[in-house]
């Protein structure tokens, strides 16, 4: 199993551009999450999903959108990128009834 995969690994955006961060898991997990981590800080939850077609906001959802059309995929959309969105983005998944979240390798995004 590949676990949780994320693409791209790195990306540089100009202010105002848009992009989609891809996340795929092959563990048949119902729960999926998007976090961002700024330098020297902990992770902040952006959005999460408890199953296909169901998403909800986390702590810092402004400037982002998500969709969950399948169990495997949970893309994160950035509209009108701003320098404040420069961060490392982690996708994670879990079975929901267990305590363990499995994290992807992250996407390092720079907005200039």
């Amino acid at each position: 199993n590949a676990g949780v995969t994320q693409t791209p690994k790195f990306r540089i955006l100009k202010i105002g551009q848009s992009m989609t961060l891809q996340c795929t898991q092959d563990m048949n997990h119902n729960y999926m999450y998007w976090y961002r981590q700024d330098p020297g800080m902990g992770l902040k939850l952006i959005y999460y999903s408890v199953g296909a077609g169901i998403t909800d906001k986390g702590e810092v959802p402004n400037g982002y959108n998500v969709s969950r059309s399948t169990t495997e995929d949970f893309p994160l959309r950035l509209e009108l990128a701003a320098p404040s969105q420069t961060s490392v983005y982690f996708c994670a998944s879990s079975s929901g009834d267990r305590y363990e979240q499995y994290f992807g390798p992250g996407t390092r995004l720079t907005v200039t």
Partner: protein, 112 residues
Amino acid sequence: LAKTTQPISMDSYEGQEVNITCSHNNIATNDYITWYQQFPSQGPRFIIQGYKTKVTNEVASLFIPADRKSSTLSLPRVSLSDTAVYYCLVGVPPDSWGKLQFGAGTQVVVTP
């Protein structure tokens, strides 16, 4: 969700035992305590979880006193590869899984 407080950083030498205490005064009856480890440029990795008393696995031990207002992660005989950030989280799956907060964590630095 219960707020957690951990030391910002801890230093240790190889071969020593490292104990990280997390305070969670407002822990709820159903909450579990979960610890994650994060290496630089990687997503967090689940280490251990427990509800009360003591839990041990191949990586660490978790000590939880009877009042459950704190917990201590114990890393026996650390090596350089244990240098990482350690996060303490409190909650109960699946209800709180969309609201979990990774704080700044505890930076553990192991030196020769």
